[in-house]
Amino acid sequence: MATTTIPKSIPVPKKRAQGLTVMVRTIINARTPLAMGCFYGALIALLSAAIYPAMSQVNVGAYLSSSFVSGLVGAHLTNFSAFPTILGLELYSSFDSLLFGGILAWIGAAALPLTIENGTIDLALSRPISRTRYYLESWLAVLICGAIIGLVIVFAVWIDTLIVKNADINWQWLWITQLVQWAFMFFAAGLGLFFGSFFNASRAAGGAAVGIIALGYLIQTFGTLSDKFSWLLKIGPFYYAPATDPLINHQLTWWYPWVLVVVGLVLGVVGLVVFNKRDLPSV
């Protein structure tokens, strides 16, 4: 055992920029689901290019234009032999919103409880950092994870255009489509943070948030089955993220994504209030 003593004259500690330390750590903590989101996004985009030659030869019009499938993908499809249609079907359908939104909801919900589980939140909040900042940095990290997944998807689509001849992608509308998907991710992040603000266990919080996203997907599919249930569509989040429409049909009701952004924001802010008021459990 060393027997050094603390020197008599110790310099006053120099100030050090706090930076976005919590945000960076939250992204590192979320690396597994983030990597999953990027992997699935790239994989689905590249598979779309791979299966396009075969899909363009298959007559699936009657199947894909049914109301049930419309419910599953979130849009009425036309021109089934065009690459944007295949891409919209595979990469920007309601199922993809479920997948990527679910991943974002999980990351958001786990962000805070994970630091309760690993014991860092007590030590972090005993430093000069407010709960509000801690929460907002965590939220920002979740949004950055969503941005990364979206950018990987767009990059994979660009690779698709190198593989598929006459891909006929309208890049302006592709970015608009991606913005719609990001709006859904924003909603999912807010939902996740909301659950994470009062749960102590990351898996429980993640499960609850993903459960709500999955419930929204069920509402979407049931709502499209019959006109009797069409009201169900409007209470679910998927109705406001018709990501396939702008890519394929070049049309979008502009305020729909804003509904998701506003709801995500409200959920996130409510989560912030809850997180600021609650007692944090000891590990």
Binding site: M1, A2, T3, T4, T5, I6, P7, I10, P11, V12, P13, K14, K15, R16, A17, Q18, G19, T21, V22, R25, N29, N118, G119, T120, I121, D122, L123, A124, L125, S126, R127, P128, I129, S130, K277, D279, L280, S282, V283
Partner: protein, 305 residues
């Protein structure tokens, strides 16, 4: 920072979890450059009090001030001057010690000026991931995290748990050095022998209530001396029990064992009347006094029943 009032002031602190009252109106203060022991058995409310001080949990009533700052209202300013060691140091398994130190130093917003000294003194390993650390090694990292930015006030929750006796000795020496440098240290423990080596005063908490705040010297006086005498002639227990200051007289084989509080003079004078074959006196362990603070109210209740 110059403040007139004590460094830590806890005033009528209460904390309830539903119907359970974890802390019941405790008040105490800690002076500058004091090492203050906060004693109590498991579940007494020590950690709850400490977590209220850090605003990780919110008091139901009462106030806490550290360095003149309100622990809730001025917490960001207050936390700039505080080093905290939790009772159970748990850190992310994938982070290395170095990453953990860098992370918390950044959050503190200060360079870790004492880092190299602490690493050398406590022989801390910082290159391995935390998941490979034993409890003792994690505790050492926790100590480094609390002290590395040279804070004015240290709040330590059972700091020596997990440390081997050699390291405990090093840690106690370190605490005394820090005290000499003007640091104020508030440390909780459930082991009296642990705090009596370094603390000037101790508070004892039991079931959320403050039982006493006393100087360690006063407690020592209360504990008195433990005496063993072997006589060469006939002496009765009653005769010994009548000597002023003598209590808890017990006979085993040919020896008498008892405690003496206050001056030894009446005992010595009484013993001089007899033939003393063997005499042994030592300080009674403070643990006995400490345990009495818990036992007495329960015994009283049992007697009433």
């Amino acid at each position: 920072m110059i403040t007139q009032e004590p460094v830590i002031v806890i005033d009528k602190l209460e904390k309830s979890y539903g119907k359970i009252q974890a802390v019941r109106g405790i008040s105490m203060s800690v002076e500058r450059s004091e090492i203050f022991g906060f004693l109590g058995p498991n579940g007494a409310g020590k950690t709850t009090t400490i977590r209220c001080m850090l605003d990780v949990i919110r008091p139901s009533a009462g106030t806490i001030r550290v360095l003149g700052m309100n622990a809730q209202r001025d917490k960001l300013a207050m936390h700039q001057h505080i080093g905290y060691l939790p009772g159970d140091v748990r850190l992310p398994g994938t982070m290395t010690g170095k990453q953990v130190i860098d992370y918390f130093s950044r959050l503190q917003g200060l360079e870790p000026v004492l880092l190299n000294d602490l690493i050398a003194r406590f022989d801390v390993e910082i290159k391995r991931p935390m998941k490979s650390y034993s409890k003792g090694m994690r505790q050492k990292i926790g100590i480094v995290l609390a002290f590395m930015c040279d804070p004015e006030v240290l709040i330590l929750d059972e700091p020596s748990s997990g440390l081997d006796p050699l390291l405990q000795k090093v840690f106690n020496e370190f605490l005394l050095e820090e005290q000499a440098r003007g640091k104020t240290i508030f440390m909780s423990s459930h082991i009296m022998s642990e705090v009596e080596k370094v603390c000037h005063r101790v508070a004892v908490i039991r079931k959320g209530e403050l039982v006493t705040v006393e100087e360690v010297e006063a407690l020592r006086e209360k504990a008195g001396q433990r005496v063993t005498v072997e006589f060469g002639d006939a002496v009765t227990e009653e005769e010994l029990a009548r000597i002023p200051g003598v209590n808890m007289v017990r006979k085993s084989n040919s020896s008498f064992h008892f405690n003496v509080r206050g001056s030894m003079d009446p005992l010595i004078k009484a013993l001089s009347q007899h033939e003393v074959a063997r005499l042994q006196a030592e300080e009674a362990p403070l643990e006995e006094v400490f345990l009495k603070f818990y036992e007495e109210p329960e015994k009283a209740t049992a007697t009433k029943q």
